[in-house]
Amino acid sequence: MTPRLEAIANCFQGVVPSIIATCGRDGEPNVTYISQVYLVDADHVALSCQFFNKTRRNVAENPYATVLVYDPLTFEAYKLRLRFVRAETEGPLFDVMADRIQAIASHTGMTGVFRLLSADVYDVLALEPVEGFLLPPDPVLDASPDAELPAGPLTEIRGLQVVSERISRARDLGGLLAGTLEALDELLGFSHAMVFLMDDAGVALEVAAERGYGGHGLGTRVGVGAGTVGTVAARRHMIRLVGVGTGLRYGRAIRGRVAECGDEAKLAPELPLPGLPDAQAQLVMPLLAGERLVGVLAVESRDPLCFDEWDEAFLQIVGNQIALGIDRMRAPSGQAAPAPRDALPTRSFVYFRNDDCVFVDGEYLVRNVPAKILWKLLGLHAREGRSEFTNRELRLDPTLGLPAVKDNLESRLILLRRRLAEKCPEVRLVPVRRGRFALELAARVTLEERDSAGSR
């Protein structure tokens, strides 16, 4: 009987590497491992493309591919007959796949060197179990202990209720976090968990509470954008990493190749995992109070298949409650809502000198002259507190690289406004009167300059 794709979801967790065969126009078959097969929906999967390699070139010429995936618990094999549909370079699917790769790249010191180029979407034309791949189990040798009964909905609702009560009754932040993590452990089995809180400057997170690490790790700091936790903080998306060991080995293999190819200078030191050194699964989620990031909740396990969609959904509910609880604790007493200054989100801008481009919260914003203009304005605001500027002073600034005639300053400002509206609406350039405009900030802004996207 042909199973449905959803029924073999375990095969897409990335624990046992999958295999892909392709064939180009020249008729030469090619076979290799692939790092990530992502289950998109009942009829589609997506493969991660980090390098434009032979597989990718073949598929551009001949869209058919065969992929072998393995169940990491039973080692049953399944063959997927695929046809390439499209390569996505942005959007929700791309973001989910890119976040996982970014987390691995960051831990193996390869931020910027190793990243997702595209999420390649394929039609699944057929799904075939590989009949006869495994011999029947031996009744004595292969007798396995009975699987544990799955937790029922009553346990889950009861757990959620207890977590909510502890959050609402807590008298201080320490009690709130400790009580919540204790309930998650005892009632729901999340036995290794940490809460990171965002620092005031918005550049790093610090472990404020932990459960299952024997008190170790408290106070550990992680930079925004660094590792799984920092990536979640920067992108504000949840990341579920399964087969962490497999992912890190894959990352290190690429790191080795980068070094062999003479590009060692691009590599940063490896970043140890913040919790269990041998974690096999991590579920890390942003704690958001409205638009504001207050921290990150991380749970992990040595069991590579410990977390699934249910855990994601469930912890998201718990995470929202924790975030609101933290927000309430941190608000000055007698005040229902946090002070306006405190409520501002933080946006981190980085200017890459060698590339003349600006990133905001790790995402590309703008390059060339508009980037230099933005950097000048943000810098003057930070250093001198200025918020009003003239077109004339921009035209007179030789460092911006505007041509002497036909400088197109207006159209460059329009482009910059449009990019800001798309990527960072908290920063606006508002015309005041002819030839003058104001920089309006609805966020706390941090500024940093680096040489190039590969450096730290």
Binding site: V16, D142, G256, Q280
Partner: protein
């Protein structure tokens, strides 16, 4: 073109993936269970378990070309070999030891990924078909920059 070091790697029990294609360019693949390098001949033999080999063997009857990827799960060191399939025959009883030894090595290396050896030992592994392949090109396939670059070029560039 198969140095002693490379031959040792190919025979060391690393993962072996075989890719083929049919006459309508539809690709297929499977795991092989063992490899033997013929010293000095530029040929190697890989073993395909019959229980799951039919679709790939049908491809090879139409188009005798194979891609064979050797990869070590611990560090992803990978080599891909391409060549012409010179012969497909039943594996001999005296070759069974190669396949049995390979199964043990595979269980050990997949154990690194967390798969219990008792499950890997259930892989159907005998009888096998032996695929004798003339090695025509060798590529570095370790993931990262330069993946797919040729490791060596065959003398006289034998055409399929």
């Amino acid at each position: 073109m198969l140095s002693p070091d490379l031959a040792e790697f190919l025979e060391s029990g690393v993962s072996i993936l075989v890719g083929t294609r049919g006459d309508r360019f539809a690709p297929d693949c499977m795991r092989a269970l063992g490899a033997r390098v013929e010293p000095g001949l530029g040929e190697l033999t890989v073993y395909l378990p019959e229980a799951v080999a039919e679709s790939n063997l049908a491809n090879l009857r139409d188009v005798p070309r194979a891609a064979i990827c050797f990869s070590r799960p611990q560090d992803h060191r990978s080599i891909q070999i391409k060549g012409t399939v010179l012969e497909v025959r039943e594996a001999r009883e005296d070759e069974r030891a190669v396949v049995e030894r390979y199964r043990g090595a595979l269980a050990a290396s997949l154990g690194v990924l967390g798969l219990p050896p008792r499950i890997v030992f259930r892989v159907a592994h005998w009888p096998c078909r032996a695929l004798r392949v003339r090695v025509e090109s060798v590529f570095v396939q370790t993931p990262g920059p330069g993946a797919g670059a040729p490791l060596a070029r065959p003398e006289g560039e034998a055409a399929p």
